[in-house]
Symmetry: C2
Subunit: 365 residues, 2 copies
């Protein structure tokens, strides 16, 4: 086994999720990531905790969704046994790394949306635990990134093994700016100009806990406050399909109109999942300078140092202040704006990032 | 996908476990059996049920057992989250088919025994559901059987797709003999002569429900009634090791002494698991004439038409009459006696099988 896999497992168990003796852990990953799962069983066993190992198989999931999805509008039920599993769980560790990122490309978006609605109680339960989402470097994801498998392995394991203390300190400067702020405005090129309130909400510093790699600060917009237009000019993969050139117009917080240059019907499925899928649940600012290339994988792309991402759908409850309402949804879809050129982030009228450089970085002018 | 995999999945869902709409299903199998899992997700989805997919990885399990087993005598806890999962489950489908049957050969037997003790509540819960144990034909199991992978695939899928109605009728003749009987005596060669009472207990007809392939009738001995000696002259694989030439002496139902020609220390671990592991929990009579070769796999070997098997450890509760006590244990280890030569089964003093031929078969004399 590559020694970096064991190091990855130790980071997940100790840094990201702080697994302790007597705790119940769920390890959920596709078969291609089995070596990471093996290493995690070793570490989890060593720490005195109890694992259950789920096979997150996109092939199996596709087969189920297609077979069950033919049954009509609401063909899915909340699986009580899975819910019961998570209710008794302390820590959830999930790795991506399937063989084929297009595996669910022939599941119709309405089916996926119906499934997500049925799974929402399970998702909510899972998100209420300590959890970590990470990546195992497989050929399929290397191919998606346009990289050789070995180069992609280096990319992933380098990104995972960052100096997270230093990263936390770097990001704390941005958390200080956002904490207590009222209004954030994001402008980029001719097509993105959006403002939102974050008053009363909390900005979190992601230094490799819930996401590994981490490298962003994120908060929740006040639900009805989002106004303006966004051109998400970086593509995203969703349900096995690449969605390109998404444009969204927000009015009173709600998605008023939208379009995509490619695979718009996947977006239809997302926005039609439930009412909450039409509101922003997250504003995130990428701050990880060590991720230096776009790999079509949101876990990495959204952390890049000159990007901003916004997610439609569920807000993270930890971000939402007592006086604000958390946006609830079965969806959570991140989309990215490239901030490297002709772009600014303003906080309460002050420019805090220009063309991808933060106000507290050396080369800001 | 080989069409026989889909047929196998349909047999499991419809014949073996009768999956119905709205039911919660657990599908547990190693990564090598993923095609069967995919087919099962399709069938389970089509029947309107809800799957959870566990990865039964021997590698992960070994890593966990070795890491946690170093912690002393009782290093394991019952995993409450796994127990909660099974409590809300209606149907459990398990397939064997790992890449390497020796994967757990470097886990010490005491560790395995301690783990089984901690898992007993989970096992008991699982056995209280509708369940099916089956086989996916992998290279590892083909190698164990001394067969090419393709020949082994044919062997497994032929065995699975038997005419189970005809098999049930054939076996019903033996159930009739055993139901209501008092004493069973099994004699073979110079070293096996054992008697036991089955009075008040129920004999079940296994025609491919809990085991696929099925092909045996089985019951529970009255716990304290087993007397005599047994030479289990067919080898078995347990914890990744081949155990050969097991000899056991029973007194008042309890294992009084035992030996094995090979890997006796694995047997030590089994018998030291708990007190119930020293008593017989099952008497089974193989009746499946279509399984015509020994493959070192208990799921098939114990069904062969001229074998008898006895399991130390837990009795199946459905076999135990109201006035008898079910033997409880965290273990259940089947061992086989070859009945093809110089052997008889007597029921209440009547010979019902001689040299592997049943009294109701044409060539019995």
């Amino acid at each position: 086994m590559d020694p970096r896999i064991r190091e990855h497992a130790e980071l997940i168990a100790d840094h990201s999720t702080q697994v302790e003796a007597g705790e119940n852990v769920v390890i959920a990953m596709p078969r291609e990531a089995e070596e990471l799962a093996v290493a995690l069983h070793e570490v989890v066993g060593d720490r005195g905790a109890n694992p259950v190992y789920l096979n997150n198989s996109e092939r199996a999931s596709r087969a189920f969704l297609r077979a069950r999805g033919e049954d009509g509008d609401e063909p899915f039920e909340t699986p009580d046994h899975q819910l019961a599993l998570y209710e008794e769980t302390d820590v959830v560790i999930i790795a991506r790394g399937g063989a084929n990122v297009s595996e669910q490309s022939d599941v119709v978006p309405e089916t996926t949306a119906a499934y997500r609605r049925a799974m929402q109680p399970v998702l909510k339960e899972r998100l209420s635990k300590r959890w970590c989402l990470t990546q195992f470097p497989t050929s399929g994801h290397a191919q998606l990134a346009g990289m050789s498998t070995e180069a992609y392995e280096n990319f992933v394991w380098d990104a995972v093994s960052l100096d997270w203390d230093a990263q936390r300190e770097h990001q704390a400067e941005m958390v200080d700016i956002l904490d207590g702020a009222d209004e954030v405005r994001v402008k980029s090129g001719a097509e993105t100009d959006v403002t939102m309130s974050i008053a009363g909400n909390t900005t979190l510093n992601d230094y490799g806990e819930k996401n590994l790699p981490g490298g962003e600060v994120f908060t929740a917009p006040v639900r009805d406050s989002v106004e303006g237009e966004v051109h998400f000019d970086m593509p995203l993969y969703r349900q096995g399909r690449e969605i390109e050139g998404v444009r969204v117009r927000f009015e009173d917080g709600r998605v008023d109109s939208y379009s995509a240059e490619r695979n718009e019907e996947v977006l239809d499925g997302v926005f039609d999942t439930d009412e909450g899928a039409r509101y922003l649940g997250e504003l995130g600012i990428g701050m990880n300078r060590s991720i230096d290339q776009f790999t079509y994988n949101m876990l990495f792309d959204e952390k890049m140092g000159d990007t901003v991402h916004m997610a439609v759908g569920a807000a993270y409850e930890e971000c939402v202040g007592e006086e604000n309402e958390a946006n609830e949804s079965a969806e959570h879809v991140d989309m990215i704006v490239d901030m490297s050129e002709d772009s600014v982030i303003e906080v309460d009228g002050e420019v805090v990032q220009r063309d991808g450089t933060f106000v507290f970085e050396g080369d800001f002018e």
